[in-house]
Structures are given as structure tokens and as C-alpha cells.
């Protein structure tokens, strides 16, 4: 594992009106491995991820992804990131094959054979319109376009919320598939702690916009006498 940081967030603060969504968050995600970001709903996970993707501008503090500012250089950053979120707002009018052909134009590293393999694995009909797919199929389609160019950084923002166990298995499989290639990194945000526990190397707990705890999962478990991640979370964050 290389120690270089893929994501470096420093003293990041963000307010929405009177609400402080992030308060002096500092975070460093090393290259390689799976980084779990856990927290209750409204803790600030999505706000942090939106800063990493350049969809929010840092009000104070700084965000660097691959050493670049994602707001100043969206092309340089986004072309190396695969992203899947709970919202998954793929254009409903597109067919699956159109979505693939559209997406491949943006990524020089797009792998047609791999995309086709994933499509078959996920049993997606190429002529089906996105809006006619089930929620699980839409998540699979989103996962397909996030993976097909083998991104250096895969960002999953609550990807499994509301999905059945089979689709959640596919998503976890994608995480494992991604880290099978050396040097690739996954940032996995979820409130389903058992999922994070299955795949994460490092866990950061976020609560009320602040980092409550951040450590390698193994260290965390050892220091808490073999407690599960659920129990550790409740001990440190409570129900907030």
C-alpha cells in the first residue's frame, strides 16, 4: 500500500444558514484500500463527499483530491473518480446502451469488455429505458458506469439504502473488485455499519459535522475489546 493521500481535507467548515454541516473537518485518505465513512443521517457524510467531488465549494479550509482542487479542476479530478449515490439521478429517458455509449466518451480508460461483462453480470437489458428499471436495476446501472473505466477512486455515498440484499451484495462485490487492483481506493459512506465492517480497512465516524473517531478498523476493534462496529459507533456517537 502506498502512503500518498488520494483525498486530503483540511480544516473544512461548511454552514447552511444557521446549521453547521461540517466543522473543521480534517481527513486524509491514503491510496489503496477501503475507507468507510459512517454516521447517522444528517451527520455530514454527504456534505463532505460533495466537497470531495467539487459540488460544494470550501467556505473555509481546503479540499484536495489527487493533489488537485476539485472546484478549480473538475475535469482532472472527476475523470479519475467513479461515483454512485443513493439518489442515482441517471437520465430516465436513456436506454442502458445509450447510457454506456454516452458515459464512455468522458473516460479515456473506459473498458468496453469490462462494461459488457458487468452488464451481463447485472443482467441489464441494453434496450431497456432507465426509467423503466427497478430501483435495484437503476443502482446496478449506476454502478456499472461508475466502474467501467476502473476509476482510481470509487466514491459510494449511501449506495445500498433501500436496496434488496442481492443488489447490496453486488455493490459490496464491486468494492472488492475495485480494491483487487493495486493502488485503487474506495470511499464508502453508509449508515449500514455491518456492510462497512465487511469491507473497510479504515473507518471514520462523523457526528454533527465533526470527526468523532478515525482509525484502521482492526485497531479500532482491538482497542474496543472485539466489539462490533455497531457497538463502537453507539459508544462514541450514541444516537446523534
Amino acid at each position: 500500500m502506498v502512503s500518498e493521500s488520494v483525498i486530503a481535507v483540511s480544516e473544512l467548515t461548511r454552514r447552511f444558514g444557521a446549521t453547521t454541516a461540517l466543522a473543521s473537518v480534517t481527513l486524509s485518505v491514503p491510496r489503496g484500500g477501503v475507507y468507510g465513512l459512517v454516521g447517522a443521517n444528517g451527520a455530514g457524510k454527504t456534505t463532505l463527499i460533495r466537497h470531495i467531488l467539487g459540488l460544494l465549494r470550501a467556505e473555509s479550509g481546503s479540499v484536495r483530491v489527487f493533489g488537485r482542487d476539485p472546484v478549480a479542476d473538475p475535469v482532472g479530478v472527476l475523470s479519475r473518480i467513479g461515483y454512485l449515490s443513493e439518489e442515482n439521478d441517471l437520465p430516465g429517458w436513456m436506454r442502458v446502451d445509450e447510457l454506456l455509449r454516452y458515459s464512455r466518451a468522458f473516460y479515456p480508460a473506459w473498458d468496453d469488455a469490462y462494461a459488457e461483462e458487468l452488464r451481463r453480470t447485472f443482467a441489464l437489458d441494453p434496450t431497456a429505458k432507465i426509467k423503466n428499471l427497478s430501483k435495484g436495476q437503476k443502482a446496478r446501472a449506476g454502478l456499472l458506469v461508475a466502474l467501467a473505466y476502473r476509476p482510481e477512486l470509487l466514491v459510494l455515498d449511501e449506495p445500498s439504502s433501500g436496496l434488496d440484499p442481492i443488489v447490496r451484495r453486488d455493490i459490496l462485490g464491486a468494492v472488492i473488485r475495485t480494491i483487487a487492483d493495486e493502488g485503487r481506493t474506495v470511499l464508502f459512506s453508509s449508515h449500514l455499519l455491518d456492510e462497512v465492517e465487511q469491507v473497510a480497512d479504515h473507518v471514520t465516524m462523523i457526528s454533527r459535522g465533526m470527526i468523532a473517531l478515525s482509525a484502521p478498523l482492526r485497531t479500532l476493534k482491538e482497542s474496543h475489546g472485539g466489539m462490533t462496529l455497531d457497538e463502537i459507533f453507539l459508544a462514541h456517537v450514541g444516537t446523534a
Binding site: L53, G54, L55, L56, R57, V71, A72, P74, V75, V77, L78, S79, Y83, S85, E87, D89, L90, P91, W93, M94, R95, D97, E98, R101, Y102, S103, R104, A105, F106, Y107, P126, T127
Partner: protein, 527 residues
């Protein structure tokens, strides 16, 4: 709120409060003008002036009400599915109640709009303005718009065609009745059945939609193999997406409306003035419709689009390219249909005679240049209408969009009566003519200062490099000089001073708002 009726009314009022406030403000201004400025009916020199004074803002209000009460602002007009909000289907109320209340509110709003218009508008002297039947017509048009909007369709796009044809048919029947000087009781008898009929049809349509019953004729078509698409670059793929999402609306609308307009040539072939008006209406149809389509093209950026690894300039560039393609394709039916319909209707000799008269006055080369310039100006105007609001829409700020609409309507509400007053006063006209160069010069200074400010922000934010900005500025200068040179050649300098033409051209060629679009997008994309 203790009843579904109150809840539906509250939602409509709450959601569209800014628009409804704007309408009320406009009506209050109109009332003030009516009571304090114009106390009696006035003599308008022609119908067009009267139309400009009251019809433009009130037609905008009419269309706004149609969109609000049919829930048409938050759905896909081209989709097969009903546009009635699906979330209301799960409420524990009958389908009749779901249909009845929005229909009742819509009809009441339309009737109120008519009564306000009749009461407050400045009507020409001697005009006998009817009381009841226009209110009933407005309510009928609202009811049918709601019905046809809420109905599920078997094919995509069918909703637009059916709605336009049906509403045009109702209008045509009323116009025919007016032409035959039909008395008010007969007009009422013609219009009275519409609202109940529309209500019954809407009940059936919403009931179907509530059951998820959407007919699909596409299943009977022979399945086509998926069309192979190959986008070499991201910006090409983005242009394809923009085209599929927004590019086809304008050509489709023009293709539907223009043939109907041109059919009027057959009815009025003996009246040269009306033939001229029909042709003018046809030529102004694409820019007019582009103003409506612009809202969809400049719509907000979804997270899916924001996540594309493209620069803000490329995302805006894709929209500009699609607007250009959409403009060219929208004009094709006109270029083909106008000569054809002129020939078939027997009005071609009339138009050729006008052309000969123009050639006699200005000469062949100048006449050709004027014709080409008018065509190019109309194409450019269509494109400009499509893209000039990008800097508002792409900001993704709803308050900015609403403020812009409000400002435009307020401007119209003030400028139209002001223009009418100036045209009617010889002294004011002379003063305006003397001041016009100064007014234009001030506007040019404001435009150029704003352009410099936008360019500085574009450079500071790293959205454009210095070289790109310089090339853009040179391109704009070349366009201005080319159009200016052409106008100086075409127009006699006795009529227009050269500096006057230069100021007009500088104001007409798009610059600031276009340049501000990437800035607005960056403001939205990186909040």
C-alpha cells in the same frame, strides 16, 4: 386545513406564491393606470397598439395560469404518463375530488382574470366588451388544458399535438361564431357544455392514471435495433444528451404550428395585408416559440451532469451548439413550407410583386442582401432567444429565475403603456428622438462594462484563459463590424447616422449574458 379542498388550494397558493403575487401586483398597477392616468376609454390608432397595451401581459398571465393549475410546470409534456402529480394519488380522497378542486380553482382564476381584464384594461373607445362568454371561454380552455395534461397517452409527444389541436379547434369555433356576429346567449350555449365535458373526461383520465393504466402503442411497432452511437469525445456526448433532452422541442413545435398558420393563406388570399401579416407571423414563430423553449434548455444542472468530467465552458458550449442545431432545424420547415404554400394558395405572385417593388427601389444586390440579412437576423434572433437566459437558468437559483420573470413582466407592464404614450405625443416623440443616441450610448456603456466585469470574473475563476477571452473578444468585434458594414451599405445614411447604427449593432450582438453563462454554471455546480 380541514379538507382536501383547502389543502389543494394551499399547495397551489404556497408553491406559486411569487408568481401569483406578481400577477396581483401587475393588476394593481393596471388598476392604478386605469383609475388615475386613463379615466376614459381612449382612441387607439389601430388594433395592434391596443393588443400591445393589454394583451401581451395578460396573455402571459393566461398561459401562466394554464401551467399552474394543470400542474404543467413540474412534469414532462412529451411523456406518455399523466402529468397529474402521482403523490396526490395516494391521498385518501376520491378521484372526483382530485379532479374537481384544481379544475374549480383553475376555472375561477381564469374567470377572475377575464373580469379583471374587462374592468381594468384600457379599452378602445366604442368597443362593446362582452361580459360572460369570454370568462366561460377562458374557463373552458383551462378545463380542457387540465384534462389533456392529466390524460395518459399511448405515444410520447401525443399530448402536445392533441392539446394544441383541440384548443385551436375551440378557438376556431369561437372565432367563426364571432365573425358571424353570434349573440351572447348563443355563445354561452356553445361554450357551456365544455367545462362539464372536460370534467367528466378528466375524471376518467385521472382515474386511469391513478390505476397506473398507461396505454402503449409502441409495443405494436416493429422493434428497431438500437441505433449505434459513437461519441469520440465528452463534449460530443454532452451535445448528444442536450439534443435528446431539449433540442427537438423547438423544431417539433414549429413543425406543428407553422403549417396551421400557412393554411390561413388559403382563406385570405384576396387580402394582401393579411397575407403579409400571416407571413410575418410565420417568420416570427420560431423566435417567439424559442422564448418558451429557452426555459427547458437553460434548466438547472442535475448532479449527474455536474459529475461529468467536463469544464463549465464545455457544458455551456454543448447547450450553445444544440441551440444552433435546433434553430437551423426549426427553420427548415419554414424554408420548405412557405414557398410551397404560397404557390398552392396562389399568393406567390403577390409576394413576387413585393420583391420586384423592393428591387426597383433599392436595386438587385441590395434587395438580395436585405433578404439574406432579414433571414440571418431571424435565425440569429431564434438562437439568441434560446440562449440568452442561460445565465439565469444555469445558476440553479429559483429565486433568480422568478425575479427575472417578474422583472421582465414589470418592464413590459411599464414600457408598453409608456411607448404608447410616447407614440401618441409629438413632443415626447421629438424629445425621445433627440435623446435616443444618448440612451443607446449609455446602454452600450453598461453592456460593455458588464462584459468587462464578467470577463474578469471568468479569468479570476479560471473558467477561461486569457487567450480564449481575447479570441472571444476579437470574434465579437468581427461580428459587430461585419453587421455594421452590411447595414451601412444597405441603409441610406440620410435615414440613420452611422454612429447610430454602430450603437444598435453593439447592443444587438449577444455578449454579456452569453459570457456570463459559464460563470452562472460554476456558481451552481460548485455551490
Amino acid at each position: 386545513m380541514r379538507s382536501p379542498a383547502a389543502a389543494i388550494a394551499w399547495e397551489l397558493r404556497r408553491r406559486h406564491r411569487w408568481g401569483l403575487h406578481a400577477v396581483l401586483t401587475y393588476l394593481a398597477v393596471l388598476a392604478a393606470v386605469r383609475i388615475f392616468v386613463v379615466r376614459h376609454p381612449v382612441d387607439f390608432e389601430n388594433d395592434q397598439t391596443f393588443a400591445l397595451v393589454v394583451v401581451v401581459p395578460l396573455t402571459a398571465t393566461f398561459i401562466y395560469f394554464l401551467a399552474v393549475f394543470s400542474f404543467g410546470l413540474s412534469g414532462d409534456l412529451a411523456a406518455r404518463q399523466s402529468m397529474y402529480p402521482a403523490r396526490l394519488f395516494t391521498l385518501p380522497v376520491t378521484t372526483a375530488a382530485l379532479v374537481r378542486w384544481p379544475m374549480l380553482y383553475g376555472a375561477a382564476a381564469m374567470a377572475a382574470l377575464w373580469f379583471a381584464t374587462r374592468l381594468l384594461a384600457v379599452w378602445p373607445a366604442g368597443t362593446d366588451v362582452p361580459v360572460v362568454w369570454p370568462a366561460l371561454l377562458a374557463a373552458s380552455l383551462m378545463a380542457w388544458t387540465q384534462t389533456l395534461t392529466w390524460m395518459p397517452y399511448a405515444l410520447p409527444g401525443l399530448r402536445v399535438m392533441v392539446t394544441i389541436l383541440w384548443l385551436a379547434t375551440i378557438d376556431a369555433v369561437v372565432l367563426l361564431a364571432l365573425q358571424h356576429k353570434t349573440p351572447e346567449p348563443v355563445m354561452l350555449a356553445i361554450l357551456a357544455p365544455h367545462v362539464p365535458l372536460a370534467y367528466l373526461t378528466a375524471r376518467f383520465a385521472v382515474g386511469r392514471a391513478r390505476r397506473g393504466d398507461v396505454p402503449d402503442w409502441r409495443r405494436t411497432r416493429i422493434a428497431r435495433p438500437p441505433r449505434a452511437l459513437a461519441h469520440a469525445r465528452g463534449d460530443q456526448a454532452q451535445a448528444w444528451l442536450e439534443w435528446r433532452q431539449h433540442g427537438r422541442s423547438l423544431p417539433a413545435m414549429v413543425t406543428i404550428v407553422v403549417p396551421l398558420e400557412l393554411l390561413l393563406l388559403f382563406a385570405f388570399r384576396e387580402a394582401p395585408v393579411i397575407v403579409f401579416e400571416i407571413l410575418a407571423a410565420v417568420l416570427l414563430t420560431p423566435p417567439f416559440m424559442a422564448a418558451f423553449v429557452a426555459g427547458t434548455l437553460s434548466g438547472g444542472v442535475t448532479p449527474f451532469i455536474a459529475m461529468r468530467p467536463l469544464t463549465n465552458a464545455s457544458l455551456v458550449g454543448a447547450k450553445l451548439k444544440v441551440a444552433m442545431r435546433s434553430t437551423v432545424i426549426a427553420w427548415l420547415p419554414i424554408v420548405i413550407a412557405v414557398p410551397l404554400m404560397l404557390r398552392l394558395s396562389g399568393t406567390l405572385p403577390l409576394v413576387l410583386d413585393w420583391a420586384r417593388q423592393l428591387i426597383d427601389v433599392v436595386g438587385g444586390p441590395r434587395a438580395t442582401a436585405i433578404a439574406l440579412l432579414v433571414l440571418a437576423a431571424l435565425l440569429a434572433l431564434t438562437w439568441k432567444q434560446l440562449v440568452q437566459s442561460l445565465c439565469i437558468g444555469m445558476s440553479g437559483r429559483e429565486w433568480l429565475v422568478k425575479a427575472s420573470v417578474f422583472a421582465t413582466l414589470s418592464f413590459l407592464a411599464v414600457i408598453v403603456p409608456l411607448a404608447h404614450w410616447i407614440i401618441g405625443s409629438r413632443q415626447a416623440m421629438a424629445m425621445l428622438w433627440n435623446l435616443l443616441p444618448w440612451i443607446l450610448a449609455v446602454l452600450v456603456c453598461v453592456k460593455l462594462a458588464a462584459a468587462v466585469w464578467v470577463a474578469a470574473r471568468l479569468y479570476d475563476r479560471g473558467l477561461f484563459g486569457g487567450r480564449a477571452l481575447v479570441i472571444g473578444a476579437i470574434g465579437w468585434d468581427v461580428a459587430v463590424l461585419a453587421v455594421y458594414g452590411l447595414l451601412v451599405w444597405i441603409l441610406p445614411t440620410l435615414l440613420f447616422q452611422q454612429y447610430f447604427l454602430a450603437l444598435i449593432v453593439i447592443l444587438a450582438i449577444p455578449l454579456t449574458r452569453l459570457a456570463a453563462a459559464p460563470l452562472a454554471l460554476a456558481w451552481n455546480r460548485h455551490r
